[in-house]
């Protein structure tokens, strides 16, 4: 059973009388444990696809089964639960909460999942340790470099142990050494069994994954598995 089944997904915006197509006839199956990279030129619909998979956006047509459950037919509450239970997000612009410290940023998703305090503490301690951020745990995002912020972003995304990690150009704002650190992290996570879907412009970072989906003008032009 694939984790994600998309059939005939279509997304468009209406401006005035004109329809602008973003996604067209997308049919995709993604299995648990895959590390998928979505590539394509600007405006190809990469982020929109990622947001639809992440249940942040809805298509105009088509069906989306997540673990065999039809996502868009379920109640919002239920969808929120699924989203909360299975997904973690990493953004290009990191999107840490400015008014929270490193520690508190990582803690936030755990709070929304009502995890007990001592358990939270041990999870965060472990993550800080793993990512070498222990000394920076009380700093605010503005006091960190971009690379460090993104590390916190990844730590926060995986804190609640999601099954699926969605990353929208996670290295887009980073220079190459910082980017590699992040990608190495992803590779590790994938090796540990996490399903990852990333959007990137970088050919090099695409090779970290197990499958590359190429979008153009909203269509899937190419879908290939790569050996690693």
């Amino acid at each position: 059973m694939p984790m994600i089944q998309l059939s005939n997904i279509e997304r468009y915006y209406t401006t005035g009388l004109q329809k602008t197509w973003v996604l067209r006839q997308i049919n995709l199956n993604i299995n648990a444990g895959e590390f998928v990279t979505i590539m394509g030129p600007s405006g190809a619909g990469k982020s929109t696809l990622l947001n639809i998979i992440g249940m942040l956006d809805q298509p105009n047509n088509g069906e989306f089964l997540f673990l065999d459950e039809p996502v868009f037919q379920m109640k919002e509450r239920h969808r929120n639960e699924l989203h909360k239970q299975y997904m973690g997000f990493v953004f290009q612009a990191y999107h840490l909460i400015d008014d929270l410290t490193v520690y508190e940023n990582i803690e936030t998703p755990l709070l929304y999942r009502k995890i007990k305090k001592n358990e939270r503490q041990s999870i965060i301690a472990e993550l800080l340790d793993r990512f070498n951020m222990v000394a920076k745990k009380d700093l605010f995002p503005s006091q960190l470099s971009g690379g460090q912020q993104q590390i916190v972003g990844v730590a926060r995304a995986i804190a609640a142990k999601p099954k699926l990690l969605l990353a929208d150009e996670p290295t887009g704002n980073l220079h190459s050494t910082q980017g590699e650190v992040i990608m190495d992290l992803f590779k590790q996570l994938h090796a540990e069994g996490m399903t990852i879907i990333q959007v990137t412009h970088s050919e090099k970072y695409a090779t970290y994954g197990s499958r590359i989906i190429f979008l153009e003008d909203g269509f899937v032009r190419n879908d290939e598995r790569i050996g690693s």
Binding site: F89, A93, H95, I97, L100, P109, R156
Partner: protein, 812 residues
């Protein structure tokens, strides 16, 4: 989770110090004002609440139906209470008491050393029923028999401590007190001071039997035809008895006891809870409350709170794009919409709580603002009023919901996917813009209304004070000689002679009350001519020969009054002359007015004068001379600075003369123009309240305006830079940035002006003589608001317009 919200809230407050300050200041002002007003209103509405059977307790009051006037009296005729107690069933308890204005108290100790306490107030003659109905706490003595024999007195603890030096105040029992050098009473009990909001607060209770004979002799105490407002009668009905039935029985009693030529009179039950607010009937130991004023205060409190909340709503929603990222991120991290709402609401509550803490500390200051409305004995004291904390908690809840609900809805609805788009800073700019506009307009409608109202009330007060009342009031002082009704000593004439010799006095009159005064003496006069009988209520004033001259009242026809010890002749005012049908005052001279069986001639007609505040219309008035009742001195002083020296010197000389004649008395004088100004105390209070309300509403509204313009200018920094590069002048930019908000102020004026016009016309209708609301006043108030708003905006717009475009357009 809450800790997470709390730290985000506090840190974002710290980061946006200006906005936080604006929000807190606005809310704190609203909360403080509400707090103080809550205290006032709660106090005023809690009168007699301590009486357990309040809903069954009534006062019997009297209404006299004169031909063209109804006179209400809080008292009853002397014999009524015994008659009711004997013949009306359904009454569980009753008490009658007589209130004294003031008495001199003398205490003699064992060594024959005596001490006098002059002019003691709150003294009653009460029957033994009093303490059955009013639950005083007894420190010593037996409530059952402390007042049931002559020459007994019960004291309140504080009063007993004034008279007696005992540490253990119960030792005062058995001591003798002498009242007004004639009545003696032995202390039979001490009660704790009544620490309740009540009109039943008195300090000395002399047994009624002590005074019964004198009461009958001097106060028509056994006459059904005489009513004195000091003679109070309270009853407590048995449960289930209909007060209407008692009213009917009172009417029956009246029928039995009235004489043929008596004025039709009605006795009715007045609920105890009605006494404090019903100004028709006299109050007891506390002044009347005024419900419309309280409602006015409540409206002011509501407005101030509302304005503070509006600021919060506007600033929060305007800044929503700055919070958008956080909202989006939190949603992707698993927050539900409900949790987002909760977060933003809790932020509002934190802010409201901060504001409440601040307002608790500035409340004593606000208390001073409302000093004219603060009932006596009301203090801002948390220990004394623990209810304050409950009320504040309630206010935080209300403010939190009112201010927080809409922003929480707007913010939590933001779509995560839009909020976290990598280039999303410009989004949501216009979200809720029309709501914000509407709210700003309503803020300025309120502020504008208060400005207009303030100007109109101020104008009416100036008009009232400056209106020609028909007499002179400058450089005139008044004082009265002590007067003993039972035993006139005629010493005032001696003083009058002494005063004649003092330089610095231009003119001197020994007469009755001044042309305009608080008290009124009225009587029914009958004018008979050609079989036509015209009966009307006429105000009467006592005057001597120099009275008209001193006050500049002009004789239109006839001659001045001649000194007289008996009722000999009248000088009437032009109004009465016209009322009786004479257009030419000369024609009425020599005609007579029927008083009892005598015909009193009209010897002169003077111009009309206002004998009261200008709220009252001029009515019929008659002057006469009745020398034994002339105890008021009116003295016109020579202008300061000439040979006679200063007014102070003259007044010192008058005081010396007064103290010579009345060594025991204090000399109290007042300037006549001050007395007239005091007529408008209520208006002055309203004006003060309006001034502050206008000031505070403008302040809060402008704070909000400032916050918004701050926000708008930051948001439009790039646009300003571009326009500047394209050649816009500073002036053009300022206009560009201000015009949107100034338009709202203008719309607010257009809405507020007609509302204010209607409301203030209604208010002015209470005045018989009133100023007119000119167009210029509206123009002025609108300009005032406009200028204030413009200055507020300019502080920010000019600064933004001056920014060097090279800085604002630098790309990051």
């Amino acid at each position: 989770m809450f800790k997470n919200y709390l730290s985000v809230a506090l840190r974002s407050f710290m980061r946006n110090k200006v906005f936080t300050l604006i929000n807190i200041a606005g809310l704190a002002i609203g909360i403080s004002a509400s707090l103080v007003i809550f205290l006032i209103v709660q106090h005023e509405f809690s009168y007699e609440d301590f009486l357990k059977n309040k809903d069954r307790m009534y006062r019997v009051v009297t209404t006299l139906h004169f031909p063209d006037q109804e006179i209400n009296n809080g008292g009853v005729p002397g014999p009524l209470h015994t008659a009711v107690e004997e013949s009306v069933p359904g009454i569980e308890k009753s008490t009658a008491f007589w209130m004294n204005y003031q008495m001199d108290v003398n205490i003699t100790d064992g060594n024959n050393k005596s001490e006098t306490f002059k002019k003691q107030k709150d003294i009653l003659y009460a029957d033994e029923g009093f303490f059955q109905m009013i639950p005083y706490t007894w420190l010593t003595g037996d409530p059952g028999d402390a007042l049931n024999a002559p020459n007994q007195v019960v004291l309140s603890e504080s009063r007993a401590r004034v008279y007696f030096p005992y540490q253990d105040i119960t030792r005062a029992v058995g001591r003798t007190i002498t009242y007004d050098d004639s009545i003696q009473a032995v202390v039979t009990g001490i009660v704790a001071d009544l620490n309740e909001v009540s009109g039943f607060k008195f300090s000395e209770f002399i047994s009624m039997a002590t005074y019964l004979d004198d009461w009958k002799k001097y106060h028509d105490g056994d006459e059904w035809g005489s009513v004195n407002s000091t003679s109070q009668f309270f009853i407590q009905l048995e449960p289930g008895v209909d007060p209407e039935r008692i009213n009917e029985q009172l009417a029956e009693l009246r029928k039995q006891h009235s004489k043929e030529d008596d004025v039709p009179t009605e006795y009715t039950l007045q609920p105890v809870s009605d006494i404090h607010f019903n100004a028709k009937f006299d109050s007891m130991s506390s002044p009347h409350g005024h419900k419309p004023t309280l409602y006015g205060l409540l409206v002011v409190a509501a407005f101030l709170l509302l304005l503070g909340c509006i600021n919060f709503i506007n600033l929060t929603t305007a800044q929503s794009s700055q919070r958008a990222k956080e909202i989006g991120v939190r949603k992707t991290l698993g927050s539900s919409v409900g949790q987002m709402r909760l977060q933003f609401l809790s932020e509002t509550f934190i802010l409201a709580t901060l504001a409440a803490i601040i307002s608790l500390s500035i409340s004593p200051l606000i208390l001073r603002i409302f000093s004219g409305f603060i009932p006596e004995g009301l203090q801002f004291n948390l220990r004394q009023h623990p209810m304050i904390l409950v009320f504040v908690a309630g206010l935080i809840l209300v403010v939190g919901l009112l201010a927080g609900f809409y922003p929480a809805m707007v913010l939590s609805r933001l779509k995560a996917v839009l909020a976290i788009k990598n280039t999303s800073t410009e989004m949501n700019r216009n979200r809720g813009a029309w709501v914000r506009k509407g709210l700003i307009i309503s803020q300025f409608v309120i502020a504008q209304f208060f400005i207009i109202a303030t100007l109109i009330v101020g104008k009416q007060i100036r008009y009232s004070l400056n209106k020609d009342m028909g007499f002179n009031r400058e450089a005139i002082i008044n004082f009265s000689a002590p007067f003993n009704f039972y035993n006139p000593d005629n010493k005032q004439f001696v003083l009058n002679d002494r005063l004649q010799g003092i330089p610095g006095i231009r003119n001197l009159s020994l007469a009755g009350s001044p042309p305009a005064s608080k008290g009124t003496m009225s009587t029914t006069m009958e004018y008979v001519e050609d079989g036509k009988n015209m009966e009307t209520t006429v105000e009467v004033k006592y005057a001597d020969t120099s009275y008209f001259n001193l006050f500049g009242i002009r004789l239109l026809a006839g001659r001045n009054l001649q000194p007289s010890d008996t009722l000999k002749e009248y000088v009437i005012n032009a109004f009465y002359c016209h009322f009786l049908g004479y257009d030419d005052p000369h024609d009425i001279i020599g005609k007579t007015i029927k008083r009892g069986d005598k015909n009193i001639p009209i010897v002169g007609v003077v111009n009309d004068i206002n004998t009261k505040s200008v709220a009252r219309a001029i009515g019929p008035l008659a002057f006469t001379s009745l020398r034994k009742y002339h105890t008021n001195f009116h003295i016109k002083l020579l202008p300061q600075g000439d040979a006679s020296g200063s007014w102070n010197k003259t007044i010192d000389a008058i005081r010396a003369a007064y103290r010579d004649i009345y060594p025991e008395e204090e000399f109290n004088y007042s300037f006549f123009d001050d007395d007239i100004a005091a007529f408008y105390k209520k208006e002055q209070d309203i004006a003060q309240l309006l001034n502050w309300s206008a000031g505070l509403t403008i302040f809060i509204s402008c704070l909000g305006l400032l916050g918004l313009v701050l926000f708008i200018t930051t948001q439009r920094v790039k646009e300003i830079g571009v326009r500047k590069v394209l050649g816009a002048s500073i002036g053009q930019l300022v206009v560009l940035l201000s015009s949107d908000l100034m338009k709202l102020v203008l719309i607010a004026f257009l809405i507020a002006a007609p509302i204010a016009w209607l409301v203030m016309n209604e208010w002015l209708a209470n005045y018989a003589y009133r100023t007119d609301i000119g167009i210029w006043l509206f123009v002025l108030s609108g300009l005032l608001m406009f200028v204030i708003a413009l200055i507020t905006l300019s502080t920010q717009t000019i600064r933004s317009a001056l920014v060097n475009p090279a800085d604002s357009l630098r790309s990051e």
